[in-house]
Symmetry: C2
Subunit: 623 residues, 2 copies
């Protein structure tokens, strides 16, 4: 094995925060046009450079008059003034209002010399070059004096102000078209790992290639925090290549983040590049996940090395790096970045390291439930099955059920699901979920789904196949699905039914025992065994691949389509979708089991409505 | 006068919402690259098109083995397996693990044919081509099977999902580089009014020109709501020009918004253009502000006419138009769009129309206070002095002090001020405010400031000049400022002091009676009157321009600098800033009066700290 870098002396997380805070992430003042200023943060105070309005402005349509000419006027005893002309908005007045005269004026127009008030048109009568004013006015009536809105020299907006539409409005009123704002830290992102391929390119799974997840996730996180992300080419674990890419990124960016590989040797190489060419401030932090974090400087740029697994990378980024980017960009933490919730279950921890626990959220009409999500940090689906992170102190042994915890969301825009379901996977169910506002569905199979429903967390479970032993739930009939064996198009092996599967030389791909499909298959095999006077075990031993199980309802079919198997357990709908042959073995009911504690929840009501629509429209609308 | 369109039959606001909802604002599905997908909304469900991982993947560094070969192994009795090669991440395995053999494997690499488990390197010893395995393994140990994360055909993300960094992560894992998202409604914005000038261009105030505020404010609001704003040239009230611009915008955009002018004749012209060439659905809505709102269709595009005053335009936009743009773009209303608060004062209303009341917010350590802001809707500063809108039902006569109200913020990014001050304006104060997190300061002058403090709403008042009659406040000495007469550079009229102002033929620009400067001037005039055995009135009658008052502390100086006056009341600091001559008439103290109910508030503590820093650093740090 190659030599591995061990991180024996893990630094406390606070030191990691401090080390990152000590780095210069840029964010110097820059100037942007007013069109591009929304969402930015003012770097300097903006004082009014001119009076708004810049002139005494009529705030009504009417007549500009000298107020003292109208003293005592009323409807019974109007004052007659000679009309000497008119003033329109946007035009310099050509008249002066002398004693005993008036000028017609539009809203927004300059109050002409001599006049100090405007009488609204509704309080006047005009005829033959004379206007009768039917009300007495005070100086300033219906006039906005120059500078009355804001005067030259007044403080308009302070430094640190976030620019929203209303600040844009005030800046435009002041004629400001270039706005001094806090700069955008430029963040270079380098994924390491020879196995990485960019989304959109072709993937060779046989060679263990995977799509690059971290580059794109972290880039989106950088931009959310107010930085500008720059993606660099992948680097393998070759020292020279890594040094070249890191140095290039460091020269062009304020901060360089590496991430993406789980390879220990790539981390070793980066470690050496930073130590040789820069300044390694910290390696290894007492946090889980994220232990092998690196913090340093390279070629005048700041550097942070993130862990490789996607959830770990995003967690460490959001916990340690995003706050520093926001600070450099002058952006406050969004108010929606954290929420409070109640632990739905107890969770125990090993001591000694700060634990960043990925959790899911579930609204229970008012209460917000929090539950740990642990699919292994290598799972990318944890990104969307969890909503955020709970920080658990190193000395904490456990967090109790019912305890209030603070959840830092993966993004301030994350919204908890409106309803949480678990259980069987099914194509009609996928469509049903599309009708709901924000469902979360964990396809763990019928058996595991029912087990979880019994434990009380999900709002509903979906069960398929033989009826479950008694469950305390509001049970809704869903739909019926035809299941059987998926075979190559045209059924070249002429598979006729279950007998052939046992007797002929066919390679099967099966589903796991949690699946309702598997349970129907096993029930059918029991019947066949009874018929033949054999045990089920005798039959299954005769089926090549009976123990070869795959994860999802299309998976066996796809193995057949790829030529890796002769038959797969699955649905008629899948055979039609993938253009495969289908040997029917039966039909099974799909049922929705609703958690009795959640029957009144709005997300559950939405589910019931969608299910009723399904019953009315029939499966045709769904498949 | 030109004929005016009257809106006698005002439609109920609900009808306006319905009319706008009936318009087609676009938002058809479009495809964006993964890089540009953040913040967009998925238009369609995304199912996994491939298994993730695409192969059985080692999740540890170690050795790929056949689990059954290790049954019973432990440290005392390890199993020796022949090492047949190695497998790296990103490389297709060249070996098959037969019985009794093992292959070295890196995290992320393909588990080779024959192997079904990985033993971590820490539980092995390697020597001479043999690896000793010191633990028993079960099939699947340290292996993530193909599709275990997400399998081809599984539902990955539902339609309507907002794309945040975590969704970007899952999409990249699936290799998706083009994402089907809800379209962005294109919104054309046309400002009307001959008097409008774009920010950055030169302004002729004498001709009544003003900068265009609404175009930029509304454009920012459109983008915040998920639309794309397109600014069109200003249009005056010429029918042909208006028709040409409106038709061009309608041809290019999903929605056209007109706004910007307060001119009744421009509204009349638009009304006719829409009636002649399109379909006018509604004119006039029973809402205040916003009565003359127009809703219709033109050339296949939707059209809404907004009122002219900036606060009214933004209010009507946010109330009626933004929800429709969000709906078309598939975006949910941001969670921070509305907040609850407690009315700090009673407010009474005329009945009959829905009232959209602009309000300011003030946090009173825990309590959120709400107070009406009414500077007249023509004021652009109301945009930043108010934080949002309270909807008051047409039948409501008043909202009581202490009543809980819901405030729709002008923008979801608006944050209430941390501290609210009122009173005298001053350049050192401007700097002091720069040191605070999110201050709001209303420069209403010393007298009005102290009055408002007595009424209890602000956190502090700033007073300058002669000491106020007793105020219940925690009083802090601030700084001293030198005041006097600002004269042209070089003092050409050789103004020596107050005597010259009274006796010589000088035109003064004064400040209003709320100003502390004015009160010091009046006190000095009282002294001079005593000295001369005259009344103050006799002296002030002799001063040309004594009654000519302007709004802010720099305003008199700017009149002098512009050649419009011989002397202006002001500060030495202003004379230095603007390069004017200065005739000192005295010094006055500036004091901070803190609301006794708010002494413990954190924003007030921040103010105290900043003030202490000012005392330590001296004025030099501030001016």
């Amino acid at each position: 094995m190659s030599e591995r870098k061990e991180f024996h002396d893990l630094a406390p997380p606070e030191d990691a925060h401090e080390a990152i805070a000590s780095l210069d992430l840029g964010g110097d003042t820059e100037s942007v046009s007013l069109d591009d200023a929304r969402g930015r943060v003012l770097a300097e105070r903006v004082d009014a450079g001119l009076d708004v309005p810049g002139f005494d402005r009529a705030s009504m349509d009417g007549y500009a008059v000298r107020a003292r000419d109208t003293f005592g006027a009323d409807e019974a005893d109007p004052v007659a003034l000679d009309l000497i002309g008119e003033v329109h908005a946007g035009v310099e007045p050509s008249v002066t209002v002398e004693e005993g005269t008036a000028a017609e004026i539009s809203t927004g127009a300059v109050v002409p010399q001599g006049a100090d008030a405007v009488v609204m048109v509704e309080r006047t009568t005009e005829r033959d070059g004379v206007v009768e004013v039917e009300t007495g006015l005070a100086p300033g009536d219906n006039v906005m004096f120059a500078g009355a809105d804001i005067a030259a020299g007044e403080r308009a907006l302070g430094p640190g102000t976030e620019i929203t539409p209303r600040e844009i409005g005030l800046l435009s009123a002041l004629g400001v078209d270039e706005v001094p704002v806090r700069g955008t830290p430029t963040v270079g992102i380098i994924s390491t790992g020879d196995e990485l391929v960019r989304p959109g390119q072709s993937l060779n799974s046989d060679a263990g290639q995977i799509f690059d997840v971290n580059s794109y996730t972290i880039a989106a996180g950088v931009e959310e925090a107010g930085g500008e992300a720059v993606l660099y080419p992948h680097a393998g674990d070759d020292y020279d290549e890594m040094e070249r890419i890191l140095t290039e990124a460091a020269a062009e960016c304020d901060l360089v983040l590496s991430s993406g590989s789980t390879s220990a040797s790539a981390v070793d190489v980066i470690y050496r590049v930073i130590e040789d060419g820069g300044d390694l401030l910290m390696h290894g932090v007492a946090v889980k996940p994220g232990k092998p974090m690196l913090i340093g400087r390279l070629a005048g740029s700041a550097y942070v090395g993130l862990p490789g697994y996607p959830v770990s990378a995003l967690t460490i980024f959001q916990t340690f790096v995003a706050p520093a980017i926001r600070e450099a960009a002058g952006k406050p933490e969004p108010r929606t970045a954290t929420v409070e919730g109640t632990m739905a279950v107890e969770e125990r921890f090993g001591q000694g390291r700060l634990r960043l626990m990925p959790v899911g959220l579930l609204d229970d009409d008012g209460d917000r439930l929090v539950y740990p999500v642990d699919k292994g940090s290598g799972a990318t689906t944890s990104l969307t099955e969890a909503d955020g992170i709970v920080e658990v102190h190193p000395d904490t042994d456990y967090v109790s059920e019912g305890e209030t915890v603070e959840v830092r969301l993966f993004s301030p825009d994350v919204r908890p699901p409106t309803v949480l379901g678990v259980g069987e996977d099914d194509p009609a169910l996928s469509r049903l979920l599309d009708d709901l506002e924000r469902p979360r569905y964990l396809s763990v199979g019928t058996r595991e789904g029912v087990r979880r429903l019994r434990n009380g967390l999900p709002d509903f479970a979906v069960a398929a196949g033989p009826v479950e032993r008694e469950v305390d739930a509001e049970i809704h009939d869903g739909w019926t699905r035809e299941w059987g064996l998926l075979v190559p198009d045209g059924n070249p092996a002429d598979v006729g039914g279950l007998n052939d599967l046992v007797d002929a030389d066919l390679r099967l791909v099966n589903r796991g025992t949690d699946s309702g499909l598997r349970r129907s298959l096993d029930a059918a095999l029991d019947d066949l065994a009874d018929e033949r006077g054999a045990s089920r075990r005798e039959l299954t031993d005769a089926i090549d691949g009976y123990e070869l199980t795959v994860r999802a309802y299309e998976s066996p079919a796809r193995k057949v389509a790829a030529g890796d198997a002769d038959a797969g357990l699955g649905l008629r709908a899948t055979a039609e979708k993938l253009g495969l042959g289908f040997v029917s073995l039966g039909s099974q009911d799909v049922r929705l089991l609703i958690n009795p504690d959640r029957v009144a929840k709005s997300g559950v009501e939405e589910l019931r409505v969608a299910l009723d629509r399904l019953s009315l429209d029939g499966l045709a609308g769904f498949e």
